[in-house]
């Protein structure tokens, strides 16, 4: 790898085998796990069955998809927690991290049972597993920034993984926490990020480029609005007044103009679905400020009131002018007709009425 910046996909990966230890036992709904089963770019089975070149062999330890159950399932987790994982591993955390220190006893979230018959808290797992992990990934907005369960008035003191481990946390390999937000995560967004990390582990990709909120830059640098196919309505000051309209829905409560997310453009899966592009207001579910800063959802965002008013005069004028142009463009040019005279502008010299018939020559047809 030192020799050339370009490493062949055909070379064997720098790391032959990687484990993925996935914990869904944050305060979660498992929706991110279900979501990634919808991914096709790549699909889960692409990664696990080695359908892509240059990848290390990947062993997935995931509670929703595991063959084993109970203690048998937890064996690699216990081993890794002791620092005895035989392979580098990526720790994936799903769900908000509760604050277990705000109460006298009991637990908010646990996975597995300890020798005393008590649940092993999710925080304990995170503490131990993050120490030895090659990479740590937070999947979904709960794990990245706290999400729904960290809403004001919540009883558990829930937070995101970066809040819990510290925003400056780095793994032994020097990776910061990688955050792939979304409620749930867009399927391909996550699998694509995971693939990047696996290629990074394989020595094929440089350090994953992340923004200040630890999001992969190539996925989260554009606003919903910048990729929204209803943006044209906005520009023309044409706003939906009711649910079900195909126009811009910013006045119904859409936060798309200020939310970093690619779903409007990418669709939900296979290019189908999404949010404002299919009539669903953007509620900002990828953002660290979600949900409180976007509530009440079904109300025009304060900023949108100003900007949509500003766009209105320009938009209406432009729309009127465009309507004029459009109605012209919507008619065919006048020379497409059945008149006996050609009106395209071409002056035929060899045919046409009143012209002498072309001489017949051998070889011509």
């Amino acid at each position: 790898m030192a020799d050339s910046p370009i490493r062949s996909l055909m070379q064997s990966p720098a790391v032959p085998e990687v484990d993925i230890l996935w914990i869904t036992a944050g305060l979660s709904c498992d929706g991110d796990s279900i979501s990634i089963t919808a991914a096709t770019q790549p699909s889960l089975e692409d990664v696990l069955l080695g359908a892509l070149p240059g990848l290390p062999k990947v062993n997935l330890h995931h509670p929703v998809l595991a063959y084993e159950t109970g203690e048998a399932f937890l064996v690699p987790f216990h081993r890794a927690a002791r620092g005895e994982s035989p392979r580098p591993y990526v720790l994936v955390i799903e769900g908000s991290v509760p604050n277990e220190s705000i109460k006298e006893e009991g637990f908010w979230a646990g996975l597995g049972t300890d020798a005393e018959g008590q649940p092993i808290t999710t925080c304990t797992w995170i503490d131990q597993l993050s120490k030895h992990a090659w990479g740590v990934v937070a999947i979904g907005t709960c794990a990245t920034y706290g999400g729904i369960h960290a809403m004001s008035g919540n009883p558990t003191g829930a937070m995101g993984l970066c809040d819990y481990l510290g925003w400056d946390f780095k793994t032994g390999a020097g990776l910061p926490i990688v955050c792939v937000p979304g409620c749930p995560v867009q399927p391909d967004n996550f699998m694509e990020t995971l693939l990047y990390l696996l290629y990074q582990a394989a020595g094929l990709s440089p350090m994953i480029p992340l923004d200040h909120a630890h999001r992969p830059r190539w996925l989260f640098s554009q606003t919903v609005h910048e990729g929204c196919d209803r943006g044209g309505y906005y520009e023309q000051g044409d706003f939906a007044a009711e649910v079900g309209s195909r126009k811009c829905i910013v006045k119904l409560g859409c936060w798309g103009p200020v939310v970093l997310c690619n779903v409007g453009r990418r669709g939900w899966m296979a290019g189908i679905g999404g949010c404002p592009n299919v009539g669903g207001i953007c509620i900002g579910c990828t953002m660290p400020g979600f949900p409180d800063k976007f509530m009440p959802f079904m109300q025009e965002p304060p900023g949108a009131i100003m900007s949509s008013a500003a766009i209105l005069m320009y938009g209406r004028t432009v729309r009127a002018l465009r309507n004029f142009t459009k109605s012209s463009l919507d008619r065919e040019p006048i020379w497409r007709n059945r008149k006996p005279q050609l009106t395209t502008g071409y002056q035929p010299t060899t045919y046409g009425k009143g012209q002498a018939k072309a001489p017949t020559t051998e070889g011509q047809s």
Binding site: A25, S28, E71, F73, L111, N154, P155, V278, G279, G280
Partner: protein, 609 residues
């Protein structure tokens, strides 16, 4: 539990069963966090006792207080990561009632299409990617090698429909990731989710659902995109129903007595699915009427008899009990939010409308409080019993109540017969028109819960044709409005009833000063995974696992508790709530079975402690 291995007790008495503590925590291949703790009598090959525990608390009812009620469906969708849309839909139903609105017909048909796709997707993924692994070659070879040998020799009667000659071929096809059917199911789960996204925008937390309607733009393209995918699914279903029939019937045949695995008294609840926009006005006063018109009939079946199909009666009978859950009681301290329903009927303090949730985190104690799940029960006013209804994983109760109610007839696509449900699937590219007939089974057991799931996949697909025809008719007639305007009243109450994929779902809402004063969702899993209640009645998982005979051949460290796992998974657990089966130290178990340690251990029944 603290000693792991063997439960004994010199103080016993006559009961001298050899009991081994076994726990499975976490239960994998489900959604959410569940542990199952058991005492197993290996002498009798039977589960003696079972506790179901959940180890996650999030507090929706607490943090929703004071929020804008229009946020409720966005928030409650996040309760569940596989059927969040069922929550969003149910919340929208409850809000429609509270706001006094009725969406246009087209909106309801589109929502029904979205929800139908959810059933198609979710049952498919759960059946063949999660449950299927319990019946796959790798598992059956490990737990019951003799059964696998027999499967190698047994012809699959439905081979002409599904293409697998022997039962063992079906099992091989279900092997995780490498099996052909396993991978096909993943693929099917994708295009069915595309169907879902066409209607509801995103899976699993929809973007286009609103009180009063749906944001989806209704076009011919929308419905055509759905229809073309539906036809692929219908072809798949024509294969999968006979395939599962073959697989499940084989277990009855290969393991005589298997019908007792996961068998429990028939205590089934279904809260109804697929609104009929012709009659549904979301008014509580008319709920008995329009509830009865739903395209999956709500109802409660006790000992094989249909007790009621009246949603008002169902609603008023719901009681939330404590007993083994980590919460303070509200019977004396909580507020009575709703004294009477809109019909003037008194509403109990233990009804979700009047529930106050106060968490009290504490150590897990299987003899006292051991779970974050409460104990929803249904008060049978004929007997005064608080019934621990289960959902049969969803499909079993839906088919059972619909069959007995005998009212559903969707132009012949789906027709209740009193004894079963007929499902008509139109001709597809590779297979002729097919009629399936689900018959009310003899048992409410593990196999029948699983079988019903396959049939309900067909039910949902056939229903979709009916909904599509109506949606096309609306669009062709130019009735393309998909929402009605509304305002949030100062004070209101509402309730929504729906079927989450895995069973009964209700949302109860109280609005004061235009804000949420109380909100309590009851998904299926609290019903199924509930612990022993204040009367000592165990929840359905606990009940179904207790007394279950064990057919697994492997022992010691290799013992997987497969019959217990199949039972728990047959309910389609979805616990962002929970059950733990705790294998209290595999090492002790090994010791227990070593020939040098053969002494009988007296056992004192848990109930007497």
């Amino acid at each position: 539990m603290s000693e792991g291995g063997i439960t004994g007790g010199a103080a016993g008495g006559q009961d001298t069963r050899q009991l081994v503590d076994m726990s499975w925590d976490p239960i994998t291949r489900i959604v959410g966090s569940l542990g199952i703790h058991t005492k197993i009598d290996f002498g009798k090959n039977e589960v003696a006792e079972c506790w179901s525990t959940s180890s996650i608390f999030r507090g929706y009812s607490i943090f929703m207080k004071g929020k804008d009620p229009r946020d409720a469906h966005f928030i409650t969708s996040r309760i569940c990561g596989i059927c969040g849309d069922n929550h969003a839909t149910c919340s929208v139903y409850a809000q429609n009632m509270a706001y006094g609105i009725k969406p246009p017909h087209l909106a309801e048909w589109l929502i029904n299409l979205g929800e139908a796709a959810e059933y198609m997707f979710d049952h498919n993924l759960f059946q063949d990617n999660l449950v299927g692994v319990d019946f796959c070659e790798k598992m059956v070879r490990a737990t019951n090698p003799g059964v696998f040998e027999q499967a190698e020799k047994t012809d699959a009667p439905g081979a002409e429909h599904h293409g697998y000659k022997k039962i063992a071929d079906i099992m091989r096809a279900l092997n995780p990731f490498t099996g052909e059917l396993y991978r096909e199911a993943l693929h099917v789960s994708r295009y069915t989710r595309e169907m879902f996204c066409l209607m509801e925008g995103r899976h699993v937390h929809p973007s286009t659902l609103y009180p009063g309607g749906i944001g989806t733009v209704p076009t011919v393209q929308l419905l055509t995109d759905y229809l073309t995918r539906l036809m692929k699914y219908v072809e798949f279903v024509k294969k999968i129903v006979p395939l599962h029939d073959d697989l499940f019937n084989f277990f009855y045949e290969a393991l005589p007595g298997y019908e007792q695995v996961g068998n429990r008294r028939v205590l089934l609840g279904c809260w109804g699915s697929f609104q009929n926009p012709e009659t549904c006005d979301f008014k509580y006063e008319n709920m008995a009427m329009w509830g009865g018109d739903m395209f999956v009939t709500p109802g409660i079946v006790v000992d094989g008899k249909l007790v009621t199909t009246d949603l008002v009666k169902i609603n008023l009978g719901i009681r939330i009990l404590l007993g083994s859950s980590f919460y303070d009681d509200w019977e004396d301290s909580g507020e009575l939010f709703v004294k009477h329903d809109p019909l003037g009927n008194p509403v109990d303090k233990r009804h979700p409308w009047n529930q106050t949730t106060t968490p009290r985190p504490q150590k897990r104690d299987l003899k006292n409080k051991y779970t974050w799940v409460m104990s929803p029960r249904w008060l049978d006013d004929r007997t005064g019993d608080h019934l621990a209804l289960d959902t049969g994983g969803g499909p079993l109760a839906r088919l059972w109540t619909t069959a007995l109610a005998n009212t559903v007839d969707m132009n012949g696509y789906v027709k209740a017969t009193g004894k079963g449900v007929e499902i008509l699937l139109p001709k597809t590219a590779g297979k002729p028109e097919t009629k399936l007939n689900w018959q009310i089974p003899k048992w409410s057991n593990t196999i029948e819960r699983n079988r019903a799931r396959s049939y309900f996949q067909a039910y949902a697909a056939a229903s979709a044709f009916y909904f599509l025809e109506h949606a096309f008719a609306e669009i062709n007639a130019g009735r393309t409005q998909t929402s009605v305007p509304f305002t949030v009243p100062d004070e209101a109450i509402g309730c929504g009833f729906h079927e989450a994929v895995r069973g009964v779902l209700s949302h109860h809402l109280v609005i004061r000063d235009k804000k949420i004063a109380n909100y309590h969702p009851y998904p299926p899993t609290p019903w199924n995974a509930s612990p022993r209640d204040s009367f000592g009645t165990p929840g359905p998982y606990e009940d179904a696992v207790t007394g279950t005979p064990l057919f697994e051949e492997s022992r010691g460290d290799d013992f997987k508790g497969i019959d217990i796992m199949r039972t728990v998974r047959s309910f389609d657990p979805c616990l962002p709530c929970g059950v733990h089966m705790y294998l209290g130290g595999g090492k002790e178990l090994l010791v227990r079975h070593s020939p040098t340690l053969g002494a009988q251990i007296a056992y004192e029944p848990e109930s007497s402690k």
